[in-house]
Symmetry: D2
Subunit: 353 residues, 4 copies
Amino acid sequence: MSANWGHHIELSLFGESHGKGIGIVIGNLPAGLKLDMDMIKAEMKRRAPGQNKMSTPRKEADEVEIMSGVVDGITTGAPLCAMIANTSQHSKDYSYLKEKMRPGHSDYPAYVKYHGFNDVRGGGHFSGRLTAPIVFAGAIAKQILKEKGIHIGAHILSIKDVKDSRFPHDISDDFKRYQPTIDEEAFIKMQEVIEEARMHQNSVGGKIECAITGVKAGLGNPFFDSVEAHLSPLLFSIPAVKSVSFGDLDDITSLYGSEANDSYYYEEEQVKTRTNHNGGITGGITNGMPVIFTVGVKPTPSISLTQDTINVKTKTNDTVNVVGRHDPCIVPRVLVVVEAMAAIGLLDMMEDL
Amino acid sequence: MSANWGHHIELSLFGESHGKGIGIVIGNLPAGLKLDMDMIKAEMKRRAPGQNKMSTPRKEADEVEIMSGVVDGITTGAPLCAMIANTSQHSKDYSYLKEKMRPGHSDYPAYVKYHGFNDVRGGGHFSGRLTAPIVFAGAIAKQILKEKGIHIGAHILSIKDVKDSRFPHDISDDFKRYQPTIDEEAFIKMQEVIEEARMHQNSVGGKIECAITGVKAGLGNPFFDSVEAHLSPLLFSIPAVKSVSFGDLDDITSLYGSEANDSYYYEEEQVKTRTNHNGGITGGITNGMPVIFTVGVKPTPSISLTQDTINVKTKTNDTVNVVGRHDPCIVPRVLVVVEAMAAIGLLDMMEDL
Amino acid sequence: MSANWGHHIELSLFGESHGKGIGIVIGNLPAGLKLDMDMIKAEMKRRAPGQNKMSTPRKEADEVEIMSGVVDGITTGAPLCAMIANTSQHSKDYSYLKEKMRPGHSDYPAYVKYHGFNDVRGGGHFSGRLTAPIVFAGAIAKQILKEKGIHIGAHILSIKDVKDSRFPHDISDDFKRYQPTIDEEAFIKMQEVIEEARMHQNSVGGKIECAITGVKAGLGNPFFDSVEAHLSPLLFSIPAVKSVSFGDLDDITSLYGSEANDSYYYEEEQVKTRTNHNGGITGGITNGMPVIFTVGVKPTPSISLTQDTINVKTKTNDTVNVVGRHDPCIVPRVLVVVEAMAAIGLLDMMEDL
Amino acid sequence: MSANWGHHIELSLFGESHGKGIGIVIGNLPAGLKLDMDMIKAEMKRRAPGQNKMSTPRKEADEVEIMSGVVDGITTGAPLCAMIANTSQHSKDYSYLKEKMRPGHSDYPAYVKYHGFNDVRGGGHFSGRLTAPIVFAGAIAKQILKEKGIHIGAHILSIKDVKDSRFPHDISDDFKRYQPTIDEEAFIKMQEVIEEARMHQNSVGGKIECAITGVKAGLGNPFFDSVEAHLSPLLFSIPAVKSVSFGDLDDITSLYGSEANDSYYYEEEQVKTRTNHNGGITGGITNGMPVIFTVGVKPTPSISLTQDTINVKTKTNDTVNVVGRHDPCIVPRVLVVVEAMAAIGLLDMMEDL
């Protein structure tokens, strides 16, 4: 398995859900950055489980220990390694996962790819828990971007069929007002849908809309390194993300060209567009409007309901009961992961770190 | 601007719409491959304009000249450079494009990024014409994949609000039967919608569904090199593509986990899933079912209608008339480009070239 | 600072000499490899200091803790993170290193590059101590290569002006017979030279010759990924290495073409060359003969003698006394680092992991 | 075969000695650069053969045609493709090269690697002729560096056993005074050695010393991206280069640490070193002194003398006569190639293009 992502900013992600720990190495950070540890902790907490009924009651301390690259709270320019020790793993029996492939999970393809040697406890390296170090890296990226006047925020756009409003055209930098949803009513209904799924030992998914404000025109490149091409693999690296749309969701495919073309105008010498169907990106390059994109998150594959599957040991059809403490919906916890990936991807496109 | 994409298979794309020519260098091709030039020509023709009312009447010969890497029609293992001379460019006046930024195009962000030095004639390097060499590269990739039992095909899933059926669960290798649409009726209505847009000097977009059959379980990696992460930047490199969904479009976000989890079963010792909401990919790795994905294509930004915009020379609001021969809808021509990118991306993930 | 190296095999190196610890993340290892921990420990010990008068009396436990990627001693295919805690650091005063730039060290360029934020204690991330995790990674690479019949070994070719013999043409797989030198006499003289330098608070350098046996013809590529181009950056990543020669040291530049051209012949259907001036590589590709190369190691820059230098705080000329326990010669300890880098680089060029 | 090299600046090299043409795609060039075509032509001429007795009488026009990325002589920011048509190839019989493997050449390893499909005519893609596009790219890189006050120049340090002086400590920017040798006498002797080799149908090699002046402190990174690690693969990509030394050749291995440590001092607020044994690089990072390195070039493998070799068709020992017009020594022509690679590599390390 590949550990690395990186062009300008480098990431190397490691660890398994039930191993000794998980962590990340971040390369090419600028030297002299005073880390805002309170902000980092707050971001980590947004992802942490066990905070309400929507997520698993499992508690994870997620105490980050910085192993390198920081002296007296300030980055040195050397690779920063952050570790999170695994502490809360139940010592339950995971051996059935060696035989019974959980539907919707990595189990079967990983079994084939790694010849049965992959760590199956809690999903091993495929665990959503690996997004914790990504949130850590994203928090640092956000801090650097903030100093450049760039802000990133995401809200829940939908849970199952319950929809929130989309970001307004005159989106504000203060994203807290949009979180977790823009419409309060929508969030109440969403919680009901999630609770109902939980009561039925089932799960639901949804969509997340994310915005990046303060981005200047001129970031990105044609073709293989367009902004869309640069951000999408990071977004698709988030477990359970199955779709990425820039701008108007898929709605742009239903417009006429005369509608979809966001017309330019000057407002006090600043170039703006009257609409933003293209999500701040045309020709693969930012045009100075907010970068807007949406990701679709599938329902949590771990559900307590008995499911049909195969047993690769007996080579027969079988059923599986995925015991444990599951999130009936991970969308609320994924918000900050999406923001983190966007921050990392955007920072990576900037040459003047 | 970056020219290169590549991990295993390498691509270096160059050229401008109205320069001397366009082309591509393909690195790391296997030696000893006898190129199927008829197949390559047939693929190039699928993308070529001027074939019907849906596309621009502009004719482009698109004669590919292979400059290197092939002797006696067989690859040598050395980098293959393919060139297409530009012949059909009207010598019209493009100077207005230096001032008036066409909405929906790369004009303004490129003006900022390249300080006004970018070639604006016909969109320069941003032109959709650059997809011709990609189709060439894709045809070679398809040929190699075919020898491994892998086939790739796409159909028009929608044009504006007119929808085609989705691929059946028991999809066939013979993709011609699904092209350009699965429902004949749908295609007739689509043509009407396109013709109506053309009559109004407007344009429309749509969606394309693509399938890859014959892929074994085990391709791809967790996180940064998941199949989704690997294919998406290539798909987002296609001009006008604004969304990419794997599996069930965004519909998977509306399902319960018990529905979205494609349950496994053995059919004569072969592992299959009863549904394929995950598009053949779970945990970022292929599971042996057909890989299915959809891309959303925005309406062609070039329309003859007068549009509001800015003039960067006078720094005032202005209007622009984009003269020329425009495609009222590029979706039918993009089918083969999507297939090409999928072929290149998939081939690149295979280690046993 | 970049943490990552990698194409097929990925490395991400982190840590500082006097931080919490040092470590490495290794990506893309094959699953199912049973780690030979005894062999790994033996390799680590070859690099460890404090074993004789030639190296610093400083003891480093160098206990490797595997944080991820291994279950029950067998690789899972997930990124393997190995950590070594720092335990033996004296709590001495390093603050003078913030001002006085040690000649021959990274101090001054790092001061400029990182604006004075780099960790100066013991050299920080630039410390030769960072080669310990590389030896760990190299030991794993060696183990994989051994299973393919490939062996790697290095000997001391010279210390200052004392020279060892070069590898014989019919080099054996059993490298221990050549280590640390081929001629026993030479090693005795080398020790004298090192001891003399140590007595004078000075240091000496030397050359290392390394061989890789069992490599088949056909590895490597023309130009940017020739075997030489692939291995050299790894070798130049070893602190203090200033030169890399493939084949006959620089002597090949003094030969006639008729001598330098290693002529081929069949020996029982196997292709061999009568000489090996090209070090097993022609046209950038292995030809089936042992790969031979030499690296030049400069004298340890840390010496106790008072040296002239600058003080970047006072901006005046100054002198510096580098206190501490120094290696009068690191060449004997670098042998295994060179082998490790060669193993990693060679493994990375193989596609059939 | 891989075509690409690149991090910041991207190169994609293609073509064969006797194919339609050779060329290069250069990505990520800055927009707005007015190409100095006279300087480019002058550089190309330095590499061109047929200029004196030391090189092959073969004439190559080496007319560069820029296919893309330049409008009105100014770079647009889009990938620049430069082509050189092949015109001077004799239509002689190369079929013997399919069977008889020329010693010292890529023939045999390429035969194994590409299963006999590689283009053997004139060495195919392995031909030294492929360095012509590299000189072109290097000339552009030099032009950009010159605007930043950085100059690059190389001289012949030795031909066989005839040695030139090394660069003086107070090296000048005006490199012409050092070329082709610093000592005029040495060049006369070198020519005699080359002529003598030519008369005996043999060839000779030598060493090239190259300097980069005007480089500020702070370029490069620890370990995998040290200046040495960054430049060396480019230098080893030059056909026939077998060794690369930074600083004092291998002589640094014979010094005491107290000698090898270049001591710093302030000269009118500028930091300098009294000696430059480390070639302007310590800790992998430039220290502000001139970057100095040496490459060793083996004797031209193409010689007219009958040589022993194998016949891969008959699988027997055989002899080969390499007919054609050979360079008795390529060192004088390689000077500009070394400079080009240094320019490309250095430019690639700069972030403020």
